[in-house]
Subunit: 137 residues, 2 copies
DNA sequence: GTCCTTGCAAATGCTTTGCACGCTG
DNA sequence: CAGCGTGCAAAGCATTTGCAAGGAC
């Protein structure tokens, strides 16, 4: 498991059942889980886990680069496992659905803007909001 | 003033000195002000204005499409006056500077993704984080 | 055995809301 | 002069933190 290897490599960090659980939930999460939802799912497997543990686990994963945080809408944050650096979001205003997409052009924007501004890009986030097919665009 | 016209056109909304002040601050703000900073600046002109009034004014402006909200980093929201739909942000991890940029390619991404997914885009937000020239890329 | 991690509860900080008064249109 | 907007204070909610007990290595 990637988590295990990464945690073990990182000095001063330990693998625990809670972290494995939280990471598993985020990985399977199919995308864009809020902390509250991660917590709710975690409690189904381990009713004694606490919300602070969830937050601290997420914090550790972000620090290790395993999980990315996105800021969809004004509500709370969402988290997802990092697979590659180029995943972005369509958020439906009608039904709240979050659709993930990849697009190579995005990387080009990122590169060219970076070059023009002397700016070294570490991460990119792009959110388009609007209406999905069901909600009639 | 655009604010005045828009407010007056909108039924059930009134123009007040506080709203004019808040809108002026956001417009001149040179970009990316948090609610707290808008509040601080507003108090210099009108020490009796309250933070809730600032939030309510911003809420009204968002509703009228005069102001856009962006979600930079995990901290609080930032606001800026809407001039066109294609302004995006570089956020420096080192010094916290926010650099605004426009890029036509972005619109293309937006259009093509929208077409491919049957998704009608209403607004787009893109944040690149990394290091600016000063903070050494 | 060390010291990182957990659970609980309390604290924090941004944002929102209830209510009585004030001011716009 | 009706009804929206304001100011104040208190509430709400996601997230963070302190501390003692538990568990990984």
């Amino acid at each position: 498991m990637k988590l295990n290897k990464t945690i073990l490599k990182s000095p001063g960090s330990r693998m625990t059942s809670q972290r494995a659980l939280v990471f598993d939930i985020i990985s399977r999460g199919g995308g864009h889980l809020g902390a509250d939802e991660i917590y709710a799912r975690a409690r189904r497997k381990n009713p004694r886990i606490s919300l602070s543990t969830v937050y601290r686990a997420i914090g550790k994963f972000k620090e290790l680069g395993l999980v990315a945080e996105s800021h969809l809408g004004q509500e709370h944050h969402h988290y997802e496992a990092v697979h590659n650096g180029n995943h972005f979001h369509l958020v439906c205003i009608g039904c709240g659905a979050v659709i993930e997409f990849e697009y190579p052009l995005v990387k080009r924007v990122q590169d060219e803007v970076a070059r023009a501004g002397g700016f070294k890009v570490v991460s990119a986030e792009m959110n388009l909001s609007g209406y999905c097919r069901q909600c009639g665009g």
